[in-house]
Symmetry: C2
Subunit: 460 residues, 2 copies
């Protein structure tokens, strides 16, 4: 073996013990809430057949899919003219049959179609797995990152939408966030608006433009709308809708007036109202919740496939993009030949949530601890004395370590510090004679002589 200077592929990360404990804290919190709402976990393979993935994410997306080189003598099967033509795009289909998962939604659609006979619909599933994208790496954007999705397929009920709002609320509150906004919109309202203006075919252009209101302001949006084929008159009609303010109820009333002649638009309003009613009835005892839900007409994410409600979550405590989003899509599995199966789902942005909790110092101490107590090791006698004690801790379900060799006190203390171990037990001659151990609290520095049973009681 030759010596290799070790490095990581760009855009990928190692996670240290400290980071893993925090990441697990986030994932476990979200998973616990998913389960409480009846969602069950599935996993799909990291690699899918290339043709399962291609054509699902647009041309740009296709380029960002990581392809896996065929095994064995893969060049033997490739036409020579293709190779000498140096057409990488054409050659890929010959060199590669498999690719890494790009998101969790397409593999989920494939799963539902392949397992439709075993599934009891409505199928409520969650999935927390890594995805891979050959994006240009930059701050906060990685080539491997976890997605954290919950979806239900086969149920048109808007109760699902309402429960997703509660799931966001409960999970983020449990993680310690205090001020965040769950934004909601509906594709049918956007369709209605485009219809009223008389430009239903420009709905995508319209939403792309008004989606930028936060960033470029009303003048910027107006300019972009003109560029995208709207007239000054259209913009005048759009303005009151874009600038809609006030409580959700007031917004809905204004919209009803504006959209009174659009059947689709009114249907969208009705859907939002139904979702709000479900939420109110579910949490009639928690008045703080509803104030964090905001009807936002400019919200348009993923419009290409959303057909009903659209969600996005933002924290108001830290400057950060959205920390979650989702929506309803009426034909998720059509791409694999199973028609008319409606779905709705949400996603948590785990990496961003991690950064938010870090910045707000919200990780609990318990999410930073592994081993609870380290038993020091000064010589063979002390080691021998410590062995049954060590196992007593573990029998009491206390994570415990014996320093594995006799070493200087300072070295053993540094080890405990580095691992954030909150207690160290010191065993010297005196301790062994009296059967009273010295328990050192590594945070306060305090030391106390206690019997083993007392220490176990205290640390349990």
């Amino acid at each position: 073996m030759s010596v290799t200077k070790p490095s990581l592929p760009k855009g990928t990360r190692d996670f240290s013990p400290q980071e893993m404990v925090k990441r697990n804290y986030i994932f476990d919190t979200i998973k616990t809430v998913f389960r409480k709402y009846g969602y069950a976990e599935i996993q799909t393979p990291s690699m899918e057949n290339l043709q399962t993935l291609t054509g699902k994410y647009g041309d740009e997306g296709d380029k960002l899919i990581f392809k896996i080189l065929n095994s064995g003598d893969y060049l033997a099967k490739v036409d020579e003219t293709l190779l000498t033509a140096r057409n990488s795009q054409l050659a890929t289909s010959k060199l590669s049959e498999k690719a890494l998962r790009y998101d969790l939604t397409v593999p989920f659609a494939r799963y539902v179609v392949m397992h439709q006979s075993e599934i009891a619909f409505p199928f409520k599933r969650f999935q927390v797995q890594p995805v891979w994208r050959a994006d240009r790496p930059q701050k906060g954007r990685y080539r491997e990152f976890y997605q954290c999705d919950a979806d239900v397929v086969g149920s048109p009920s808007l109760l699902n939408e309402a429960e997703f709002i509660l799931i966001y609320h409960e999970a983020l509150s449990k993680l310690g966030l205090k001020d965040f906004t769950i934004k909601i919109n509906n594709r049918k309202i956007l369709s209605g608006i485009a219809e009223i203006i008389g430009k239903p075919e420009l709905i995508v252009d319209m939403t792309v433009a008004i989606d930028k209101l936060d960033k470029i302001g009303l003048d910027g949006v107006a300019k972009e709308l003109i560029e995208r084929g709207f007239t000054e008159a259209d913009i005048e009609k759009l303005k009151p809708v874009i600038l809609l303010e006030g409580a959700n109820v007031a917004k809905l009333e204004s919209l009803k007036a504006v959209l009174s002649t659009s059947e689709t638009g009114l249907k969208g309003i009705e859907e939002i109202e139904t979702v709000f009613n479900y939420v109110n009835n579910l949490v009639s005892d928690n008045p703080t919740l509803t104030t964090q839900i905001e009807l936002d007409i400019t919200l348009a994410r993923g419009l290409n496939y959303y057909t009903g409600c659209i969600f996005e979550v933002k924290t108001n405590e830290v400057a950060m993009g959205s920390i979650g989003g989702g929506g309803r899509y009426d034909d998720l599995t059509g791409m694999f030949g199973l028609k008319d199966l409606t779905g709705v789902g949400i996603s948590f942005g785990a990496d961003r949530i991690y950064d938010v909790l870090e910045e707000l110092n919200l990780f609990p101490t318990s999410a930073q601890q592994g081993t609870k107590v380290l038993i020091s090791n000064f010589d063979e006698n002390a080691e021998l004395y410590a062995l049954p004690l060590l196992q007593q801790f573990r029998t009491a379900n206390i994570a415990a370590e014996l320093y594995p060799s006799s070493a200087k006190l300072k070295k053993q203390m540094s080890y405990a510090d580095a691992k954030h171990i909150p207690y160290v037990i010191l065993i010297g001659e005196e301790e062994m004679q009296n059967n009273l151990l010295t328990l050192k609290d590594m945070v306060s520095g305090e030391q106390q002589k206690l019997a083993a049973a007392e220490i176990i009681e205290r640390l349990k």
Copy 2:
């Protein structure tokens, strides 16, 4: 989008909710034990630089590494003669810079070297992540599977070996296994034996042959030894060692006599004795444990890199290969330029353990449940009545669902059955009037009228 008939790459698997709950039960049990013994979790990226992996697993291993096709116009950089020569092996280094993790050991070694300045040694880490191998798929062998490893680097103490025996014992016992054997051997004993015969250079041939004793019997082993360059006289010397029987103590005494002139061999015996002493002192109150530890001189797995103790675990309740293994390797990180760092580690074969628990029917009911209670939904009134109740269950940390639309009783019951939901609440006119709900136990079929608070108390 064209319609694609969905399929999975061969050797890969989807995991259904039922399978995931069982898999998580296994992983969680093992992780809990790892943590109790002071091991902390890390994760490494799924993809490593190709040169980090190549040359570490032998020529056969290199062929089984899944390579990732470079992104963009990857053919542009490849020499034309290389392409037209159709030499797949040579071309790979030009077409691919990254590859999928083949095991957890090499990425761990890379991790230790890259992060050596942040690590407090001894470094006790565990890692549970998938690995990928382009092996020919067959029953029980997959191209993507999870490894479940714990290793400690930077500590020569044999306490680590002893604790790994306890970790195996505790994790497998917790999983319900009652009869399993933890086999132990030591590379130095094998070296000593080869030395005594006067053929130290044939140690690998010797161990490969005697490792097969179980499968091909003594005559088979003798035949293979002859083929591999041993004489009849050598075999006569080997026989008593290979056929060593009795308790561990008796075996060790016999070996001491045989190996009395081999310093290395005696060192190996001493190491085994030290491990046994550690185990005895740790669990002086649990006499059943030590009987499941067996010194097995024919055990040789992974001899290429193990330098001290070697472990293997077998269940005696089901016919199955080893469900775990590991050992000590004195120079894990040398391949990345960090010399003389000793390591010892073990691995659990999670897929095989899954099959064993399934065959012995050892998965607890709690490892098969998601949602605890389903509230039925017969009409709008009942739904409205159910909404606050639904949220009360969740506030009490009871996983609950309301069937999301009014449907026939039979359909709702099938849904509960398919999801293994143990309780269903029926809400009809009478129930709403009296505020007494019908709770149906889905296992016994029993029905009872209870107030909401009583049901919550019962299901908590």
